[in-house]
Point group: C2
């Protein structure tokens, strides 16, 4: 616990004013080379770093971005947060992390206490009036809520479900179950609607089971599915975690994937490619989405316009071992 050097200490050591130290640090070309060298030596010998609070009070900028996500324990958000952190780091910005499901009071503080210059928002279920009231630029990623009036990026979730139904239908499945995401979630809705539309267009018999993206909900869905007299031969889960829960529960019931049932996920989280069998799923380029969202946000903080356009990237299905032709029956 050494005590921290202030700019005044550096100035005294180098025999200059704090103004000159400040200039030497922010734009070295504006000070005499000899002076600059003395200052840099003083910085090194004192271990000086500018106090972020003083600096941001003065320049009215936090030098940080806030990542707001629901359920940070969800591995899906991992890579996104990592990507945001890397981009922020490259721009010399700090990253603050908070739970989007915090109390309204807390959210108001997060948006207004000046700790962050912008927000990467990974939750589309907040009150739009609240989000619009934030005095900071906001970029959404993965989940989109038009009422936020904020730009964002995501893959085409609706179209993705067409790929899933095509894939399963192509393998010969005529009865497909979709285990949905939580009600009120825009991603979940887009996927459910995409599924229903795709089934209708392809004359596949689709059915729905409630879920909420979690492994637990996948396990529950598996029990409900197994109890049906007319078991669908293939299952599309709204998330990889849900699919993992479904497959795990099948294993517990003595059923094997894809021998007894084909299962597809959504997200392509890290572990999916390594499962036994590997999981067929829709790839979400999470690192790319996170990095792009961070870049966009930083541009907005720098003055770029806030037009609430939405960048939709094409979806992409990764076929793996968890899906195969239906049992002969």
């Amino acid at each position: 616990m050494t005590t921290r050097a202030r700019m005044a200490d550096v100035a005294r050591t180098a025999g200059v004013s704090t103004a000159t130290v400040s200039r030497a640090l922010s734009d070295p070309t504006r000070v005499d080379p000899a002076t600059r060298d003395r200052i840099m030596d003083a910085v090194t010998s004192t271990g000086y770093r500018a106090n972020a609070a003083a600096r941001s009070l003065r320049v009215r900028r936090a030098g940080a971005i806030l990542v707001l996500a629901p359920n940070l324990a969800n591995p899906f958000f991992n890579r996104i947060v990592v990507a945001v952190t890397q981009v922020a780091d490259a721009h010399g910005l700090a990253v603050q992390l908070a739970d989007s499901r915090a109390a309204p009071e807390r959210l108001a503080t997060l948006a207004r206490d000046g700790r962050a210059d912008g927000i990467v928002l990974l939750d589309a279920s907040l009150d739009p009036a609240v989000v619009r009231g934030w005095p900071l630029p906001v970029v959404q990623a993965c989940e989109w809520n038009a009422a936020y009036a904020a730009p964002g990026l995501a893959i085409d979730n609706h179209a993705a479900m067409g790929l899933v139904v095509d894939h399963l239908g192509g393998l010969g499945h005529r009865r497909i179950l979709h285990v949905a995401g939580p009600e009120g979630n825009v991603l979940a809705s887009a996927r459910t609607e995409g599924f229903v539309a795709a089934c209708a267009a392809r004359a596949v018999q689709g059915s729905l089971e409630a879920g909420d993206f979690t492994m637990e909900s996948g396990a529950r869905a598996a029990r409900a599915w197994a109890a049906r007299p007319d078991r669908p031969t293939a299952v599309s889960c709204a998330s990889d975690e849900c699919a993992i829960g479904f497959i795990g529960e099948c294993w517990g019931m003595g059923l094997a994937v894809p021998r007894d049932v084909s299962v597809a996920g959504f997200d392509d989280i890290e572990v999916s490619a390594r499962l036994a069998p590997p999981l067929t799923t829709i790839h979400q380029p999470r690192a790319r989405l996170g990095a792009a969202a961070a870049e966009r946000l930083i541009a907005m903080i720098g003055g770029a316009d806030h037009a609430p356009e939405w960048d939709v990237m094409p979806a992409h299905l990764v076929a793996r071992g968890s899906t195969a032709a239906p049992p002969a029956s």
Copy 2:
């Protein structure tokens, strides 16, 4: 992008000085009830939140803690970060997140720019001189480096390997492979040493394969294992991710777990209980470790002593379907 209200705005609206507003906000009992009500009304109508930079410049406290972790993409760190966030939130502190493998220059800034009042450090492979030089309290979690002279918490990694070897030996395995963690990592060393010691004590034939906790290294180890003429009948992986990679690669080679080989992991990440088969592993109470580390750090920030004691919690094995008796051969 509404413009933010300052304390002076609230004071003017309520017809008092900023000093009184400040008092009403920090300790409502110190101002007259009628005055207080006027102030609170003004706060509500203006949407005022104290500027964190100004406040922390004045009180010389950031009101935030920094979580420093290597490889944030690793699901192992997830729950820990969530727990830290929850505890911090309960104490009104913000959470800053950064990668412990950042450049030395960046680490120096993180520790000295005054953005954080303390650090939860999840990486034991940093230069001890660097860590000791930080002007902030530090608490370690999971990984411990005595040279940091900072307190911390973890489970007994050495003893845990005794439980693994006991479990596998009890099932009848006499040849066991340990896929180690990365060289130089204290956790990896403790586990490897624990494994070797346990094998010696129990007359089990132990062997080692290099790894680095990742799924990819587990897959590599599986190929090396499969190529051996004297395949061990059971495998202990230094992390769950490694075990998942091992099992996935076995599946690719047409081998089944636990029919052809028993596999145990280490960590008990969320997904492990849902795998098919579920993974036998050592449970790490990550949420508890993270919360306890945060509580400890906050106490230290508040003035509690920094004695570098290490809290070691007993390890606990969770037996699941990925381990069974060896093949009859």
